[in-house]
């Protein structure tokens, strides 16, 4: 992979940018996510989380971390559909 390889295609985050975050001392996946913005776009990290976790494990020598906290909904849902649902209970 070259440094310009696109690691998170939804948010245009390159391998270079993730390496820069690691070099800046961000050695946990939640910090790397917030420093680069990876995993926050359309696919919500379905493609890039694994690559970022592997890079982090390589650089730190630690076992791979749990993925970033998943954010609902699991799949993009139209507001009109959500507006028609019940769900007034907590949960």
């Amino acid at each position: 992979m070259t440094a310009k390889a696109m690691l998170c295609r939804c948010e245009d985050v390159t391998l270079d940018e993730v390496m820069e975050a690691l070099d800046a001392g961000h050695h946990d996946i939640e910090s790397v996510k917030r420093y680069t913005g990876f995993g926050t776009g359309w696919c919500q990290g379905k493609q890039c989380v694994v690559d970022c976790a592997r890079l982090l494990a390589q650089v730190t020598g630690r076992a791979p971390e749990m993925p970033i906290t998943p954010r609902p909904p699991l799949h993009p849902v139209p507001l009109g559909v959500l507006a028609s649902l019940g769900g007034d209970e907590e949960g």
Binding site: D28, E30, S31, R34, Y35, G37, T40, G41, W42, Q44, E65, M66, T69, P70, R71, P72, P73, P76, V77, P78, L79, G80, V81, L82, A83, L85, G86, G87, D88, E89, E90, G91
Partner: protein
């Protein structure tokens, strides 16, 4: 050289540390229980506005917006700042009167805020349903930022000036002598695996960092930390949820906030519609979990306000904690004992937008020991004296 320990590496702690270092107080340690952007500073909607109902907040926020405008140049980082204005609207007569009074006060403070008639409302946001809208106000100078790079900008600039920023470090106690804090007991942490609650686990032995001054700006975590000193704070965490949609072409100028149901939404520079709505009741204490109730309530309110949003998809939702005080104003300044503790918490969900200016004022307060009329009014002892403040422009 005095040694300052700042508790909380949210935007307020980092802005204070940066401004202390700029004043020459360089022996500053900022600690945080988890990762940077892990608390409200990384979970808010990025709104920056001067439309408030108290002169204090209006004047402070005017200055904060000025700092936001220069932030990218000073800090060499893009914070996606966009001044599209804030459009407040209401569907009740009582709130309409509040809006009119607030606009008059804002004008006296030099803001160009104005009441909008229906045709102007339609011109600014053509997609907005004006059904039932009783009144609306607009200040074109208000805006939105992307919160995360703001944090990284302050953190990097503070570090460049010699400040130490230490995430994954929680406060477990204090050492005191003669009515002063002499040391802060700290313990390394790590994120708890296998759950999504943002809890941290101990990851090492406690140790002490000596200090001459302590600044407590841990947001919703502040009362818990103050309690370690036997200090009872009246503020309470209050969960707020928020979500963002798929990115859209730019179409929405201002942040729109409906004071009658707590709905607010704006379009970020990344194209997403980011917003939230008031949901009551919320779970007690610190809770950063998402709920389906929020998502359906928000969707109903947003589709009512902007019917064309019905086909737009929600990508992600998350939650953070407001830090609420009984009178809607922050708790800021030194306390009687320990005499070298400065509080800066209870910012009512406005802490992010106020931090650029409050960081400057706090640094001055800590570095010089001088107090100001503002800090006297916002001091913790106002609750004992019964000298409460008032602010009615609180969203959500």
């Amino acid at each position: 050289m005095p040694r300052v320990v700042v508790i909380g590496a949210g935007i307020l702690g980092l802005a204070t540390a940066y401004n202390l270092a700029k004043r020459g107080v360089k022996d500053v340690l900022v600690v945080d229980r988890a990762y940077l952007c892990g608390g409200a500073s990384g979970r808010n909607g990025g709104g920056v506005r001067a439309q408030f109902s108290s002169e204090t907040n209006i004047r402070l926020m005017r200055e904060s917006i000025e700092i936001c405008r220069d932030f990218a140049t000073e800090m060499k980082i893009n914070v996606w700042f966009r001044q599209g204005g804030y459009l407040f609207l209401t569907r009740t007569a009582a709130r309409a009167r509040d809006l009119e009074e607030n606009v008059a006060l804002q004008n006296r403070c030099g803001l160009p805020t104005r009441m909008l008639d229906p045709s102007e409302l339609h011109r600014i946001v053509p997609e907005l349903s004006s059904e039932g809208v009783r009144a609306a106000s607009f200040n074109p100078g208000d805006g939105v930022v992307f919160p995360w790079p703001f944090i990284w900008g302050y953190a990097r600039a503070a570090k460049d000036l010699g400040v130490t920023v230490r995430p994954f470090t929680e406060v477990v106690g204090f050492e005191t002598r003669g009515g002063r804090v002499t040391g802060v007991r700290l313990r390394p942490t790590r994120l708890s695996p296998l759950d999504a609650t943002d809890e941290v686990l101990p990851a090492g032995d406690p140790y002490t960092e000596a200090c001459d001054d302590v600044v407590l700006c841990a947001g919703a975590w502040s009362p818990k930390i103050a309690a370690l000193l036997g200090l009872a704070l009246p503020n309470k965490p209050h969960r707020h949820e928020i979500c963002s949609t798929e990115p859209l072409k730019p179409w929405l100028g201002p942040l729109v906030a409906d004071l009658s149901d707590g709905l607010y939404f704006s379009q970020s520079m990344r194209g997403e519609i980011v917003g939230g709505v008031a949901v009551e009741p919320v779970p007690e204490g610190i809770n950063q979990q998402s709920s389906r109730r929020f998502l359906t309530t928000y969707a109903r309110a947003l589709v009512r306000a902007i019917p064309t949003m019905a086909g737009v998809r929600v990508l992600r939702q998350w939650a953070g904690c407001y830090d609420l005080t009984p009178d809607g104003s922050p708790i800021v300044g030194r306390v009687a004992e320990p005499s070298n503790l400065t509080l800066a918490c209870g910012f009512m969900g406005h802490g992010f937008m106020m931090a650029p200016v409050m960081g400057r004022l706090l640094a001055e307060h800590v570095a010089t020991g001088q107090t100001s009329p503002l800090f006297a009014r916002w001091g913790l002892d106002r609750f004992a004296r019964g000298a409460l403040e008032h602010e009615n422009m609180i969203i959500g």
